[in-house]
């Protein structure tokens, strides 16, 4: 199926799901302010489904909206879901943020986003067909992920400690603390983020090096074993900070230490959320 056919199918399914009241809202993408952009859209009326589109620019991870009170108020949420976004739904289910009965997933087979060049994440994608769905649109495609998924992380790992420090200092110097990384992230779902707690103020809100390091590292650590690699934080960052380098480093570590990758199995127990008596504690001084 081509983009046009998938768009038609999405509209047809959305219309029926809304008309039969199987869902209260369809979360999808609509044509954006330029031909190279789309924006998220919430369709509640079957007559409005023509707004829905599917093209090379459906970047936003819509799973972010599943946890928002304003959207939940519409009733059961139907969501158009490509593979990478879909992994976030797995995470939200694992962490009891949503229940299966609250959502209806229209999975879409995705050949990769971005034009003329695909996004970096799409080159290493192994979920062109989503893992979790109530129904699937599109025919399965056989696109193998490229080699060298962690090549950029390995480059940083090979640096000396001083070089790494300098690299990150330069990158974090740019951080303006707009929290786009947090807001766009479907797994950053704390009702009260640690930076919003001010009695005491755990993390400096200033964008000086201390505040910026604290913020970016706390966020990264908190996503260890949870980040599903949708890359939205890096795409949203207005200052082009390579946030996925940090997230990918943690993905790599979790994979090596626990043979676990987030976002593939809603029944799996995430390693950082569990504990065993026999766990190695030798790292504790």
């Amino acid at each position: 199926m081509n983009y046009k056919e998938i768009t038609e199918k999405i509209r047809e399914r959305a219309r029926e799901l809304l008309a039969t009241k199987k869902v209260g809202v369809i979360i999808g993408w609509a044509q954006g302010s330029t031909p190279q952009k789309t924006h998220p859209v919430f369709i509640t009326n079957p007559d409005d489904v023509e707004q829905l589109v599917w093209n090379k620019f459906c970047y936003n991870n819509l799973s972010e909206y599943l946890n928002r009170q304003e959207i939940r108020a519409y009733g059961r949420m139907g969501i158009i879901s490509k593979g990478c976004d879909n992994k976030a739904i797995v995470g939200l289910l694992q962490e009891f943020q949503i229940e299966e009965k609250d959502i209806y997933i229209i999975g879409v087979v995705c050949e990769g986003m971005g034009e003329p060049e695909p996004l970096d994440k799409c080159r290493f994608c192994d979920v062109h067909t989503p893992v979790l769905y109530d129904e699937l649109i599109g025919e399965q495609v056989d696109i193998q992920p490229e080699e060298g998924h962690f090549a950029d992380v390995e480059k940083i790992e090979q640096m000396s400690r001083e070089e790494r420090w300098e690299f990150w200092q330069k990158e974090f110097e740019k951080c303006i603390r707009c929290y786009a990384c947090r807001q766009v992230c479907p797994l950053c779902h704390c009702r009260r983020c640690i930076v919003d707690k001010n009695q005491p103020q755990w993390i400096d809100l200033s964008s000086h090096p201390r505040g910026n390091f604290a913020w970016n590292f706390i966020r990264a650590f908190h996503l260890a074993g949870r980040c599903i690699e949708c890359g939205e934080c890096e795409r949203a960052c207005p200052m082009n900070i390579p946030l996925m380098l940090i997230n990918k480093k943690l993905i790599k570590d979790v994979q090596e230490l626990y043979e676990y990758r987030a976002g593939y199995d809603p029944k799996a127990v995430p390693p950082i959320s569990t504990w065993r008596e026999a766990d190695d504690e030798s790292f504790i001084i």
Partner: protein, 349 residues
Amino acid sequence: MIIQKDKLFALLEKLKSGGKRIIAPTKRENILLFSEIGSTDEIIQDYINTRLSLKGFFLPRSEPILEFRIHQKNVEYTTVLEENIKPTVVFGVRPCDAGSLPIMDKVYTWDYIDEYWVKRRESTIIIAVSCLDCDEACFCTSLGLDPGSTKGSDILLTPVGNDTFLVEIASDKGKKLVEDNAELFAEGDADKDSILAPVRQKLGKKFDLSSIQPWLQENFFHKFWEQNTLYCIGCGVCTFVCPTCHCFDIVDEGTVSGGKRMKLWDACQFRTFTIHASGHNPRARQDERHRQRIEHKFNYYPKKFGDTLCVGCGRCVRYCPVDLSILRILTMISQLSQTGSQTSRAEEK
């Protein structure tokens, strides 16, 4: 009057060796930002606009305003101001960004004189450069500005080809700068209108500004907000890249023995912006927070200060992670006001 590029750069070098901080568009870690230059070689000249506006040189992202020390029950403090004020020349400012400064002067000199803002404004010279190109996010012409407007500049330069700039003096500060360095400037003229004609045509006029405020005034509860702005994710990108968003927060940073009182950018799109100590949030929904952004810029601020709080630089359109384009919102409002579509109070949510 005209100036050659080599003479212009010589002027900047001269001002620099005279003790002024020179700020210009430069590439920093692959993004174009205004930053202090060591040499004029660092200046980038081929650009639509910088990622951040020059707002941060008057209202820094974060800065200490007070230092305090605590000894048992005594608190000593010292204010921090003078050392943060540096004589500065900003070169390469686009007319939209320059135009934002007089608009912001109004709020910072209204009931309270914000010394930080005012002293920095006084000690800064703005050398703006007219735009010969724009992108699809630019909309200065829809706000009464122009790729060659002098509002907020001390000197406006318009590139006229052959590494030559047409010079327009736009303030007393600009006049003095030219008089003090008269040897670098030369007699000459150029047809600015014909040079700017192509970019003006490309910009066009994207909506009718006069229709926006009356509609906002009447449609606070319109379904429009829920339908078109609820997908805002509540980050601070639009406000932080904006040259006219000026809200700040005050927080203390430190330990039991002392610390600093910091002034930080804040954003009305953050949930915590309006949350009360009781836990009640008068802007509980994200569409309400986004409505605030539009109402403040196009209704409340013009009503109070006579200026629209937007210069059409297009940054928020370019960098919004979810493409919630203010240009699209304003265009839709302009169209709605023409069709006379208004919800009655009975239809309000």
